[in-house]
Each structure stands twice: as structure tokens, then as C-alpha cells.
């Protein structure tokens, strides 16, 4: 490859110095602050340590349904008031349900900090769980599932469809959006019990980022959250499952899809307990799939033209640093109907074997690490992304400061580690889901 003279050595990976302040209230609520006064905006996020994996049997989709109920009124706020107060402050809000946590957040002009804290404390104290709100939100969630899954080609592919192939336990395998039957049978008592168990202040992390003064924000947080009553914090069970010892395959017929697709997943080391062993897999996914110069793009898409798209990532929800064990490295490809799925799978296997056997090309690792750093910094630029990242890092690891360290830790991964990671992506350890267009015959 002839590089022009102006192309210098790879750039050095820059460091960020986002400050992190932390304290814990007597009721157990952990708080992390990351001040940044460069723009008059703040983000407030509350992350509860409960997600899809903690749903009871027969209550698939309940963690997400409950997330909706947290917006339907609270101790001092009527239905719709939460939305109106945030938006009348010039802010935006949302919540989302993940495998291991559920988050609630607002981004607002910084003069609304105290108001946002009030709103979050009010629903941490007591959400308004009524049968009317429950019925309304069951209907809304069903429309959400229709628009995102049932009425759409590739709906739930592969994030809802691959876990039941890879995993055996209810916690890891079930549909996190939920079956309509389970959603419709949810009761107010279920909601009360779920709240009582999982939404204790000691099971949450509050993060505030942006235009704030640490002493002032601390006083406001103590004022609004200090009297949320402490409750016992549930012990999170282990969701561990043994690794696969032989390949598992399944076929999904998608009547709406025009093109076939395939997704596959391999278990990876525990992201929280064994970060050092986990990071090479994050780099490996990028080596394989990030951009035209990646292994699988070049082979499958550009050279062999047997796939229209290829992607690879860590975690079923694409969440490398906000998921606990067990989790996976995923690869997926869409391909033309004239191509056989085994042709695609074989080409992927050959590229992984080539990497595992012959290693990385000169310069390949450092350029991938530079791009990974840029991706990570870009996420951290927006105050909301930064704030939610430190909240989850604090909750799962007690290490909000990792937000500054991860680009460098990823840059310290060696070629030998990436090759060793590639050597574990053997067919016998994987789960494969083939998506076949059209109805089952």
C-alpha cells in the first residue's frame, strides 16, 4: 500500500479527564456527579439494578411494562405531569429497559436541575400504580411491540430471536418485550411487588452531569432524595450458564423479510469480573466488521459479494460496557437470496481461522484502536451519553472513572490477545440463527 508522504504515524490516543464525584446517602442511594460547565445543560439519570433477566416466570416483558408505569404519575404528580414539567423546562426525557438495568433520564437547561431531581425522587418514593394506568400502558406497549417487532421485517432479529438458541434458562432466553398473554395478565399487585423489591434507593444509582456546582448539587440531592425511605436491597442472583460444547442452530421464518440473514453468537469472558480478558473481544469485533478495511467487510461484501451487510458487536443489545455475564460476541449478515447461508457462514469461519492462524497485519491493530477511541469519545461528548455511562459503570463496577480509562485500556490490548480471542470463536461454541424469508412451508 503506497501511503502519501503527508500520511504520518498513527495518531496517539487522547485522554479525557471527566471529573467524577461520588457519595452515598444514608438510605443507600449511590450518587455520581460529573460537572462540565461548557454549556448550560444538564443530564439527570437514575439507573435501577433490575432488567429483563430479573423478570418472574409468566411475566415476560414486565420490566419494560413497569418502566412505562414509572411515567404515569407519582406521589405528588398526576398522570402526564412528569412529561409536562420536563418539557415546560425546555427538556427531554425517556427511559429504557436493558438486560441488567432500567434507566430513567432527562436532559434539560441547567436552571431546571432542582426540578428534575424532584421529579426523579417523587417516583422513587411512590409511583402511581393504578389499574387504569396499567391498562392504558399495556395497550401502548403492545403497539410498541407491533411497530418494532410484529409489523416489521427482521423484527427482533437477532436480539430477541438468538438468546433462546444460545441459552437454556428462563432469565437469559426469554423474550424481553414479552408475550401479549403475559402482558395482558399483569396486575397492579405485580407492579407493587416489583417496585417494592427492585426500586429501593439502595438498588439505584443517581448520576448528574453537565452544568452543575458540586456543593450546590449535593445539597439539592440530599434535600430531595434524603427522605426516600430505605428498603432492603435484593441480592442479584447469578444468571450464569455453562458455555456451549456443540453448535446450536435454529431457523426463523420471517414472512415480511425480502432477503435472508444469519446471526451467530459466542460466549465471551465476564465483562465485569474479568475486564482484561473481555476487552480483546471488543477490539476483535471491530477488526472483523468496522468499515471497508475490516476483515469481514472486505471478504464478504467487497470481494466475494456474498453479503449486503455485515456487523459485529458485543452484547445482544449492542452494549459492551453495560451488561453483565453471561453475554456474547455477535456477528450478523444479510445476503442476497441467490447465496446459500452456508456459503456466508463458511466465509466467516475462514476469515476467523485466518486471523486466528496468521495474526494481524502491520498497523491493523493500531488503526482499529484509534477508531474505537473516537467512537467512544463521541458517545461521551453529549452530556446525556456521558451521564448514563458513568451511572451504569458505577452501578455494575463501582468504577465511574472507567469512562476516562476505557479508550486507553482498549488501546493496550495486544495483537496476541486479539488472536487468542479469535481462536475461541470455534463453530462448536456458537449458536446460529438463520432467518429465512417467507412463511414456513
Amino acid at each position: 500500500m503506497s501511503a502519501p508522504t503527508s500520511a504520518g504515524a498513527p495518531v496517539t490516543i487522547p485522554a479525557t479527564g471527566f471529573p467524577v464525584e461520588r457519595f452515598t446517602l444514608p438510605n443507600g442511594l449511590r450518587v455520581v456527579l460529573t460537572p462540565d460547565r461548557s454549556a448550560p445543560v444538564i443530564a439527570v439519570g437514575v439507573v435501577y439494578d433490575v432488567g429483563i433477566r430479573s423478570e418472574p416466570q409468566g411475566r415476560t416483558g414486565f420490566a419494560h411494562l413497569f418502566e412505562h408505569l414509572m411515567f404515569q404519575g407519582s406521589e405528588n404528580l398526576e398522570k402526564l405531569a412528569h412529561f409536562r414539567y420536563v418539557q415546560a423546562s425546555g427538556g427531554v426525557f425517556n427511559g429504557s429497559t436493558h438486560l441488567d438495568y432500567t434507566d430513567y433520564y432527562e436532559t434539560l437547561p441547567s436552571n431546571a436541575l432542582e426540578r428534575a431531581l424532584f421529579l426523579e425522587a417523587d417516583r422513587m418514593r411512590r409511583p402511581e400504580l393504578t389499574s387504569e394506568n396499567l391498562a392504558n400502558q399495556i395497550a401502548v406497549v403492545k403497539e410498541e411491540i407491533r411497530v418494532n417487532v410484529k409489523n416489521r421485517p427482521y423484527g427482533g432479529f437477532p436480539w430477541l430471536l438468538l438468546p433462546p438458541v444460545m441459552f437454556d434458562t428462563f432469565a437469559n432466553a426469554h423474550d424481553g418485550y414479552g408475550s401479549f398473554a403475559d402482558l395482558e395478565s399483569a396486575t397492579v399487585e405485580d407492579a407493587q411487588s416489583f417496585f417494592s423489591t427492585y426500586y429501593a434507593p439502595g438498588n439505584a444509582v443517581l448520576a448528574v452531569g453537565g452544568d452543575l456546582d458540586v456543593a450546590g448539587a449535593t445539597a439539592l440531592i440530599e434535600r430531595h432524595f434524603g427522605d426516600v425511605a430505605a428498603r432492603p436491597v435484593p441480592v442479584r442472583p447469578s444468571f450464569a450458564e455453562p458455555d456451549l460444547t456443540s453448535e446450536r442452530r435454529a431457523v426463523h421464518h420471517d414472512a415480511m423479510a425480502p432477503l435472508p440473514a444469519v446471526a451467530m453468537a459466542w460466549r465471551v469472558p465476564d465483562p465485569v469480573e474479568n475486564l482484561t480478558a473481555y476487552l480483546p473481544y471488543v477490539v476483535l469485533a471491530e477488526v472483523l466488521t468496522d468499515g471497508d478495511a475490516s476483515r469481514l467487510q472486505e471478504r464478504l461484501v467487497l470481494n466475494d459479494a456474498i453479503a449486503t451487510s455485515v456487523s459485529g458487536y458485543l452484547g445482544f443489545m449492542g452494549d459492551p460496557f453495560d451488561v453483565r455475564d453471561p453475554t456474547a460476541l455477535l456477528l450478523q449478515a444479510h445476503f442476497p437470496p441467490t447465496v446459500q447461508s452456508d456459503t456466508v457462514i463458511t466465509a466467516i469461519d475462514q476469515e476467523i481461522e485466518r486471523l486466528a492462524g496468521s495474526g494481524l497485519a502491520p498497523g491493523e491493530l493500531s488503526r482499529v484502536q484509534a477508531r474505537l477511541a473516537a467512537h467512544f469519545l463521541r458517545e461521551a461528548d453529549a452530556v446525556l451519553g456521558r451521564t448514563l455511562t458513568i451511572a451504569v459503570l458505577e452501578q455494575q463496577r463501582g468504577r465511574a472513572e472507567l469512562i476516562n480509562d476505557l479508550p486507553h485500556l482498549l488501546a493496550e490490548v495486544t495483537a496476541e490477545q486479539v488472536v487468542a480471542a479469535a481462536q475461541t470463536l470455534r463453530p462448536a461454541r456458537r449458536a446460529v440463527l438463520e432467518l429465512v424469508p417467507g412463511s414456513a412451508q
Binding site: 503527508s6 495518531v11 412529561f83 415546560a88 403497539e143 423479510a257 468499515g291
Partner: protein, 447 residues
């Protein structure tokens, strides 16, 4: 649970004094070639965001769309100096990336880089602008991929209903066709792509926006050095004026077996530069432009018909349009449309309350500040504004305009633009099931 009777009512805290948006440090220059360059310092993270907007509309509906689409997908497929893979590797070395998108209005090259790599990113950008080769093999591969992706897109209800709506709104105007047919894309050859590049990928009328931890003045010099030689010929491309909306029967597009119906209503809108735009923006917010709007509170939070109804305003170079959207369960298709029309009629004939106006006003002012508080957000906003000839000055003055809008002005803007009689409605769904109930509300034409 704490006993409910013990909880005294608490008052929601008032807002504090707002902090002013800091004046951004900015430098601007129009190069001799006609390229306008805007550089802004925003240094939260050591990155730079890049957007290059090139006017790209054709003369008539669909005419250049297949070639434009292939051009956007192959601009980075090779240059005189680098193959596609080499170019991608050169970008990765600086932590950088480039991507290209086209629509009937413009071509946009978007990218970012670790800030130490900005000089190199600009060199590579210049290389693709001045020496993209559109190699036959890569064009052949990419057009097949693109055709497959379009086939996937056209299996999505959101894409199908948008295709029908744009045709219905714009007729023969270039905006009528946004996405080409797969068969048209498969017929595109390299020479046609090279010819379109030579004709339209020009600095005249184009805008380059750079936002990041950069020295804005020094950045202009860097750009002038790197891109000063890009095609100093040609004149900016102009888009013909859009036709006015013509109301007519509801257009029903069949999607047999669909479990949801996609409802879309297009209405007139004002462009951002119009003196009444702030009032119109607030009228649309009160109607359906944000969560705390009448439309969402009615058909989602009260009736549970839909997950994400909304009313948004699309701004293109040649005109703006209001788009109301809701995806609803098949059995409530007609009742949901009735509620949309009811809320449009209400906003067009009755002024909103003072409380509704204040809430929408604070939302508009606050979210404007939020949207430009990240590098990517500010770069995107400046690029969008540039499309209709606006700049940072508009951004600085818009909160002041919003603060002055009166109830009477909002009512007038709503009456003038949001009346349901002026709307164009398209519904995608299971026609055999929904045609009857929809017919109860007005004339229905099946596509």
C-alpha cells in the same frame, strides 16, 4: 410502601435563572471556489465533526435519483491514489471515518476524526472530491448491495408509506422520489456516475462545517490549503420551487395482513426564515410536536391507540412541510384518524391556552440549546440551517423570536396551516379491513 396519608403534598421546584448560552467561537470564510467554510470551537472531547453539504437536486421527479444514490454509495470506493480498502484504512489511522448520503435536495459527506487527524481528514476528503474514480467493479458490487438494501427498505411500512406520501405531495417535482427502485439502481454504470460527479460535486453553493476542539481561524487556513484546488468552475445547483399541497381524497395503500396501519397527514408549513415561523413552530408543538401535546395526550396516553404519534416539520431547500404520523392497531385505524382530524380542527379554530403556549415556548427554547450542546448536534444543526441559507445568527436570534410570540400569532399560524381541510392523507394498511371505516370519515381512493 409508606402510608399514603402521611405524605404531605410537596411543591414542584421553580426554575432558577437561566444561564445564557456561551457565545461560540466561530470563524467563517468563503473560498475563491465558492465553498463556504464555517469552523466552531467546541472542545468537550478531542474530536472534530465534519459536514460537507452539496446542493444536489435534479430537474424532475426521480430523474437523477438512481445515479445519485449509486454516487453516494461509491464516492469512497476508490481514488487515483487509494482503493476503497486503503482509503478506509487511512481514515481509521486517524480514528476517522467518512460516510455519504444523498436525498433529492443535497449530498452530504459526514465524518469525524480524533482532532490531531483533522489535516489528514481534509486531505482525504479533497482526494475523493477531486479524484474519485468510481471503478467499474466496485460500482457493480455497490449497486447490487444498494438494490438489496432498498428492497429491504421497501418491505418496511414506514418506507412504503413515505414513498406513497411523497409522490402524492410532490407530483412531478424532484422531491417526489427519494429512493430509487432496485431495478433502476441495478442499471447504473460508472460513466453516468462520473458524469454526475463532474456536473454537481462542486464547491459553488456548498458549505463545509467543522465543529470540535479546534482553533477556528487556523482551521480555515487548513481547509483553504487542503480544498482550495477543488473544482473552481461551475455554479451552484438550484432546486425548482415546490408545488402547493392539493387536498383530495384519502389515499389508501394496501398492505394485506398488516397488523397496524400507518397514518400520515401532510400539511403546509413555514420555512425557518419566515417572520411567522416561530409562531407556526409553537402551534405545531401544541398540536402534536412533542410528548406533552394534544395529539399524544389524546391518542396515546388517553386512548392507547399508538406508541409514538407525532407531528414534525421537514425543511428542504425549496420548501417546508408538516408531517403528522401515527402507527396504530388495524382495528382503530379510522377512530385514530378521526382524533387526528379533530385535534387539527381544534388547533386551527380555537386559540391554545396561555399555559399550553408557555409550555411549548420553554420546550422550543430549551431543546434548541440542548440540540447544539454536542459537537455532532451543533454540526448537524449548522448544516441543516445552511441548506436554507441560515447560519449561527439565526440560531442566536431564534430564542428571542420564540420569547415574543403571542397567543394571537399562534392561533393565526395554526388557522393558516394546520386546518384539516388543507391536509393530504395517506394510509398504509390492510385495505380490505380499513377501507370501510375510513370511508365513513370521507372519500377514499385506493392506490
Amino acid at each position: 410502601m409508606s402510608p399514603q396519608h402521611a405524605a404531605p403534598r410537596r411543591t414542584v421546584p421553580a426554575l432558577e435563572e437561566p444561564r445564557a448560552l456561551p457565545e461560540p467561537e466561530v470563524a467563517e470564510r468563503t473560498l475563491a471556489t465558492g465553498l463556504r467554510v464555517v469552523a466552531v470551537r467546541r472542545g468537550t472531547v478531542p474530536l472534530v465533526e465534519l459536514r460537507l453539504r452539496i446542493p444536489f437536486a435534479g430537474e424532475a421527479a426521480g430523474e437523477d435519483v438512481p445515479v445519485s444514490a449509486v454516487l453516494a454509495n461509491t464516492l469512497l470506493s476508490g481514488t487515483d491514489s487509494h482503493s476503497n480498502v486503503e482509503l478506509a484504512a487511512e481514515l481509521q489511522k486517524i480514528g476517522g471515518g467518512l460516510s455519504v448520503g444523498a436525498d433529492p435536495d443535497r449530498l452530504v459527506v459526514s465524518g469525524n476524526t480524533l482532532s490531531d487527524g483533522l489535516g489528514r481528514l481534509l486531505e482525504l476528503l479533497n482526494e475523493v472530491l477531486t479524484s474519485a474514480t468510481y471503478p467499474e467493479r466496485e460500482v457493480g458490487t455497490e449497486r447490487e448491495r444498494l438494490a438489496d438494501r432498498i428492497q429491504i427498505a421497501f418491505s418496511q411500512p414506514a418506507q412504503l408509506v413515505r414513498r406513497a406520501l411523497l409522490r402524492r405531495i410532490y407530483g412531478s417535482h424532484p422531491y417526489a422520489v427519494e429512493t430509487p427502485e432496485p431495478s433502476e439502481v441495478r442499471a447504473v454504470e460508472s460513466p453516468a456516475v462520473r458524469a454526475l460527479h463532474a456536473e454537481r460535486v462542486l464547491p459553488a453553493g456548498s458549505v463545509l462545517v467543522l465543529v470540535g476542539n479546534v482553533d477556528p481561524a487556523a482551521t480555515l487556513d487548513l481547509v483553504e490549503n487542503a480544498l482550495g484546488g477543488w473544482a473552481p468552475t461551475g455554479s451552484a445547483h438550484r432546486t425548482p420551487a415546490v408545488p402547493p399541497l392539493t387536498a383530495g381524497p384519502l389515499l389508501l395503500v394496501d398492505r394485506p395482513g398488516s397488523v397496524q396501519s400507518s397514518l400520515r397527514v401532510a400539511l403546509p408549513a413555514l420555512p425557518r426564515a419566515h417572520p411567522d415561523y416561530a409562531a407556526f413552530q409553537l402551534a405545531n408543538l401544541v398540536f402534536g410536536g412533542y410528548f406533552s401535546s394534544r395529539l399524544v395526550e389524546n391518542i396515546r396516553e388517553d386512548k392507547g391507540y399508538t406508541y409514538s404519534p407525532h407531528s414534525s416539520v421537514d425543511h428542504s431547500a425549496a420548501g417546508s412541510v408538516t408531517l403528522v404520523s401515527a402507527d396504530v392497531a388495524t382495528e382503530v385505524t379510522a377512530p385514530a384518524l378521526l382524533e387526528i382530524e379533530y385535534e387539527l380542527g381544534r388547533i386551527a379554530t380555537l386559540p391554545p391556552t396561555a399555559e399550553e403556549l408557555e409550555q411549548a415556548r420553554q420546550y422550543a427554547i430549551g431543546t434548541l440549546a440542548l440540540s447544539v450542546s454536542s459537537q455532532a448536534g451543533l454540526a448537524g444543526m449548522l448544516t441543516a440551517l445552511a441548506g436554507t441559507g441560515l447560519d449561527l445568527g439565526w440560531l442566536a436570534e431564534h430564542p428571542i423570536r420564540l420569547a415574543k410570540v403571542t397567543l394571537e400569532e399562534v392561533a393565526a399560524a395554526a388557522a393558516g396551516h394546520l386546518a384539516p381541510s388543507g391536509g393530504v392523507t395517506v394510509v398504509l394498511g390492510d385495505a380490505d379491513v380499513v377501507a370501510g371505516p375510513l370511508g365513513a370519515l370521507g372519500p377514499v381512493e385506493r392506490s
